[in-house]
Each structure stands twice: as structure tokens, then as C-alpha cells.
């Protein structure tokens, strides 16, 4: 029988194992078809479902374009990547794993600053002393821009960072960072502190539905079945 619903699940990284375990608990074990290194699979117990194993970031794009019906990925990636979240996807269920806070963190030694409002004062002083703006290292360009604008902080610029962001203030390539943290251990190890009101987003993995997918035929029924069983297993 040809697949009528495609669901995308993370193929690597911190979300992969937790997602696999959750589907297993729900009685919907995922199994790769064909080659072990392949990227497609089936779902035990539900005919007509095709599983696409993709990176968490790619899942966001596939949901946006409607090439998959459903997907498991992080809320942080969804909010960072999609220009209009509500138009593109529906939040079906939080899944209880992949928890991460997106936060603004500054060097511990900046004992003169505790809140976002202090940051603009530091920006003023920094521009006077160094002739340039504060640099914020992050991969969350859009979340950072929106959050800083809301806090009235403008005297900064973003430097894109895709790995080891928390090391940039010590290395001198940025002054502060916006990054994810779960326990705060990495931040502490790098002598960074989260600003009191510097929590941008409390993120976790969600099950999403793509508004732009083809929802004719059996797709809605399969969606409800998956959602029902996953919700009970979370």
C-alpha cells in the first residue's frame, strides 16, 4: 500500500534517541527500510505511514514547504527559522524531551550587569571605549533580534556562530552570547552567567503538523492515530 502520510523524525543528534524511544513506548516503533544508512523507514503498527529520517533543522524546512505531513523537532528551531510560525505549522504536542533554554549570557566578570536593560548602557560605554558595537555570538539570529528589539537593546551586532558559541567571549571573538543551555554546566565552565531576564525561550521537542501538506484521504486519520498514541506515551 502506498504511503499516505509522511512523518519526519530526527536522524542524528540529541533528539534522535529520545524520539526513537518515545515512538517505541507508544507502540509505533520506527524501522529503517533498505540500507541501514538509508533515510526512509516505516512505522510499526500503522500502514500507510512513511518515516523520513532527517536532521532536526531540515525537518523544519520540510514542514514549512509541506513536503512532510508531520515532524518531530525543537521549538527553538521552528521559532528561529520560520518567518510566520502559526501560518506554517500546528503545535500538536510537547514531547517532554530535548528541553533547552535559549538564553542571553554574558561573562561572569561583568559584575556591573544583571539585566537586559544594563546591556544598552554597556553598549554605550563599549562603543566609546572600543569604537565598535558589542558582538553577540549566536546561531539564533532571528530570536536574538526580536528579543533584543523588545528589550530596547540596539547597540550590538550579531556574529554568526555554529559551534562552541560559549567559548567566544573567552576567545575574544564576541563579547556575549545567545545560546541553548540545559543544566547551565557548560555556561558555568566558560565563566558565563545568564541575565536575570535573559530567558528568550523555554524550548523542547514538539510534534508538529505542516499546514501546507496534502491532508486529503487517510492523512487526517493517521495523524490522529499517531497523536493519540504518542500523547499517551509522553
Amino acid at each position: 500500500m502506498a504511503a499516505t502520510l509522511t512523518i519526519a523524525v530526527p536522524s542524528k543528534g540529541r533528539l534522535k534517541d529520545a524520539a526513537g524511544a518515545l515512538f517505541e513506548r507508544a507502540g509505533l516503533a520506527l524501522r529503517k527500510t533498505g540500507h541501514e544508512r538509508g533515510y526512509s523507514g516505516v512505522m510499526h503498527g500503522l500502514d500507510g505511514v512513511e518515516v523520513a529520517f532527517l536532521s532536526a533543522a531540515e525537518i523544519v524546512h520540510q514542514l514549512e514547504s509541506g513536503r512532510v505531513h508531520m515532524g518531530v523537532t525543537g521549538e527553538d528551531l521552528i521559532r528561529e527559522t520560520l518567518p510566520d510560525v502559526e501560518e506554517s505549522v500546528e503545535f500538536l504536542a510537547p514531547l517532554g524531551f530535548g528541553r533547552a533554554d535559549v538564553v542571553v549570557a554574558v561573562p561572569d566578570c561583568w559584575i556591573d550587569i544583571a539585566r537586559m536593560a544594563d546591556l544598552e548602557d554597556v553598549a554605550e560605554q563599549f562603543a566609546r571605549a572600543h569604537g565598535r558595537r558589542l558582538r553577540v555570538a549566536t546561531k539564533y539570529l532571528n530570536l536574538t533580534r526580536r528579543f533584543f528589539a523588545k528589550a530596547g537593546v540596539a547597540g550590538y551586532r550579531i556574529v554568526e556562530s555554529v559551534g562552541a558559541t560559549e567559548g567566544t567571549p573567552a576567545a575574544g571573538t564576541a563579547e556575549l552570547i545567545v545560546d541553548i543551555t540545559t543544566t547551565g554546566t557548560t555556561l558555568r565552565a566558560n565563566y558565563l552567567k545568564v541575565l536575570e531576564d535573559g530567558l528568550i525561550l523555554k524550548s523542547q521537542a514538539h510534534l508538529f503538523a505542516a499546514r501546507g501538506a496534502d491532508w486529503n484521504g487517510n492523512a487526517p486519520g493517521l495523524r490522529d492515530a499517531i497523536l493519540d498514541r504518542l500523547s499517551k506515551a509522553v
Binding site: D108, C109, D112, D118, V122, E124, Q125, A129, L141
Partner: protein, 390 residues
């Protein structure tokens, strides 16, 4: 997505030829700065608001580059390349594409790829006459292109700085207010916070520590801060020097002890920023505000008044123009006169803008501050306005 960037290619080309002709006859040499610019310098000047709309990319060698979002910074860099000591006067004109992402979609009056024609005047020490020269030349250019009805809107950043200098304020607040001028919502919050006398978070261990530094000699305070960091195991990082952290703690300590900003001072600033009228009326009102507050704005107001006389004598309709103290608060590199040319009934369509930006060249590498003033015309909008008139 439009396959053709300039749909009115021939009309725009003909218009650009007219504009450049006026500029060249005015003594401005035509230049063509690179379209692809180093992202670092450009975006550091221009701020994250425009960075968010700039096309930034990394090339195969790993260099971070961008498509220029406007031409002022690229022409400034070109001037420095030709005159590294930045000590010679130079006048440049240009016509070429600039690129900005349009969040609401690329369209007729907001294309993502648009052409700017403009002039930049560097190193002319007589600032008043250089300001007038640029305003007059741009007016002449849009008139030659065929625009009949337009109005000027003016502002003056230097006058705001003169006001702050004249008011009796602690220097740390003056610096803060100068900086926050560019962040209107935060500026207002800051002003009312200072006026209410709310001490910035005066609890917590750090505030306690800061309070012990009050009125201390900076060198001694720095030693204590160094000790504090060492005892608490906090190594310096993030490029701020010990002295900078100490300076802010001292400011903080001073804020805890100081009287709030007098209500009258906050009111004077509020009144000043609310001034919006014809230039003559605005000058009268600002003079009255200053007189009422018992302060002397120095030569700034006289300079502004004389500038308008000069422009009027040379044929600019000053009576039909407007002046707003707030105007120009969105482009951080301006330092003096700012202006735009508006058309249309409600005055919302800006077809050209410009101003003085004396601090910019130093920040892109000049050894000292360089007097600079310029203006750019949004050529698609100019063409649309002219077509709308006929």
C-alpha cells in the same frame, strides 16, 4: 520574484544621466564603489536593524561579505583608500544599486534591489556652507529630473547635543542620554526613570559591593574590583577592561546617592523633542524653551537659523518646509543637520535623504574626525513621483 530588477530601465537610465550631470557640474567627481563590501566594517557601523535586512554571505575563502545596503559607507571607504590621511577635501557622486531584504515582500516602492544616486562631500571645514551646498545640489538635481512639487523636512542632531551640554546634568547621564537618543522608546523610559529618581537595582551582593566604592578614586576602585573578581574566581573575558567594569560600578554607586534628575530638566528635554513646525517657528519655539529654562544653547541655534537664511536666499522654500527635533533619530551615524525631500499629499513618501556624519570616517579607519555631509536619492521613487505628477 521579478526576473528583471529595473522594469523601467530606460527611464531610470535617462533620469540617472540627468542627476549625474547636475552633480558633476556641481563639482562632484563620479565614482563607482564596490557592490560587494566587507560585512564587518559595514555592519558594525550600520547596526543590527539594517543588518537584519542586508544580504550577507561567506565566499569560498571564508570571508564574510555583503551586498551594500546603501552607498554612504562604501563611498566613505573609497575616499579613505584614495586619501589615507583623510586630510584633503573631496566631492564624489554616484548612481548604482543597493540591496535590502523587504520583510513584507519586494514591491514597487520597496524593491529589494534599488538604485541610489547621490553625493558625498568630505573634508570641507566650513560645515555650514557644505551643508547648504549639498541641500541645494540635491534640490537642483530632483528639479532637473522633472519633479515640480516637493518639500524639505529638517532636523539637527547637533542642536540636541547642544541642549544636553547646556543643561545641568551629571556627565554620566549626559553620555547616556546622547546614546539613548538613537533608541526613542528606551530614551523615554530612561528619562522618566532618571526623573523619578528610581535607583537602579540597589539590592543584591554586587550592588552592596558597588555601594562601598562610592566617591572612590578610580585607580583605588579598580584595585578593589580586581580583588573582588579574584576572590570570587571570575577571570576577565569578553573584551571589557577592568577599568570599564569599574567605571560602571562607580556610576552605579553615584546613581544610588544622587538626587533624581530635576523634573524641570526632564520637561525641557521632552518639550524640545516635541518641537515640530516650520523652520522659523521651530527656532522661535526652541529659543523660548531655552529662555524659559534659563539656558544658553550657544551658537547652535544661531547656526541653524543662518543656514535656513542661506537656503532661502538660494531658492529653497523654507516657509513650506518643516523642522522636527526628533527627525533623524533612526540612522546612528548622523551628527548634525539631517534632511529629506518629501512628495505626495500626506508627506509620507521620502524620495531623498541625507545629512552630516562627521564621526563616520574615523570609525571606518580615518586617523581623525573628518567633516562629511551627503545625500542619496531613491531613484525608483523619484521616477514614480515625477510620473505621478504628469
Amino acid at each position: 520574484m521579478a526576473a528583471e530588477s529595473a522594469r523601467k530601465f530606460e527611464a531610470l537610465e535617462a533620469q540617472a544621466a540627468t542627476l549625474l550631470d547636475v552633480f558633476r557640474r556641481g563639482g562632484y567627481e563620479q565614482v563607482a564603489p564596490s557592490i560587494i563590501q566587507p560585512a564587518d566594517v559595514l555592519l558594525d557601523r550600520i547596526g543590527e536593524a539594517i543588518r537584519g535586512r542586508t544580504y550577507v554571505f561567506t565566499d569560498l575563502s571564508g570571508e564574510e561579505l555583503c551586498l551594500r545596503p546603501d552607498l554612504t559607507v562604501p563611498v566613505s571607504r573609497l575616499y579613505l583608500e584614495r586619501h589615507p590621511p583623510a586630510d584633503a577635501p573631496a566631492r564624489y557622486c554616484y548612481n548604482g544599486p543597493a540591496f535590502r531584504f523587504q520583510p513584507k515582500g519586494s514591491g514597487g516602492t520597496h524593491p529589494r534591489e534599488f538604485r541610489q544616486a547621490g553625493i558625498e562631500c568630505f573634508g570641507v571645514a566650513d560645515r555650514d556652507s557644505a551643508d547648504a551646498e549639498v541641500v541645494l545640489l540635491v534640490a537642483d538635481a530632483v528639479r532637473s529630473a522633472g519633479l515640480r512639487e516637493f518639500r524639505f523636512r529638517f532636523g539637527d542632531i547637533a542642536l540636541f547635543y547642544a541642549l544636553l551640554d547646556a543643561l545641568s546634568l551629571p556627565e554620566r547621564w549626559r553620555l547616556k542620554l546622547r546614546h539613548y537618543f538613537w533608541r526613542p522608546p528606551a530614551f523615554h523610559a530612561l528619562l522618566s526613570r532618571l526623573a523619578k529618581g528610581e535607583a537602579p537595582d540597589s539590592d543584591g551582593p554586587v550592588a552592596e559591593f558597588a555601594a562601598t566604592l562610592a566617591d572612590m578614586d578610580p585607580a583605588r576602585a579598580e584595585e578593589l574590583v580586581a580583588n573582588y573578581l579574584e576572590t570570587h574566581g571570575l577571570p576577565l573575558s569578553g573584551n571589557r577592561a577592568l577599568g570599564e567594569i569599574t567605571e560602571r560600578l562607580l556610576d552605579h554607586a553615584a546613581d544610588l546617592r544622587s538626587e533624581p534628575l530635576p523634573r524641570e530638566v526632564a520637561t525641557v528635554i521632552d518639550y524640545y523633542l516635541a518641537v515640530e513646525a516650520s523652520p522659523r517657528e521651530a527656532i522661535d519655539r526652541i529659543a523660548m524653551i531655552a529662555k524659559g529654562a534659563g539656558i544658553d544653547l550657544g551658537p547652535a541655534l544661531y547656526v541653524l537659523s543662518r543656514r535656513f537664511d542661506l537656503l532661502q536666499e538660494r531658492g529653497i522654500d523654507i516657509g513650506g518646509a518643516s523642522f522636527a527635533s526628533e527627525f533623524g533619530r533612526d540612522l546612528e551615524y548622523y551628527s548634525g543637520l539631517v534632511f529629506q525631500i518629501e512628495t505626495g499629499g500626506d508627506g509620507t513618501s521620502s524620495i531623498a535623504g541625507g545629512g552630516r556624519y562627521d564621526g563616520l570616517l574615523r570609525s571606518v579607519g580615518a586617523p581623525a574626525e573628518v567633516p562629511a555631509v551627503g545625500s542619496a536619492i531613491h531613484t525608483e521613487r523619484l521616477l514614480a513621483a515625477i510620473e505621478g505628477e504628469s
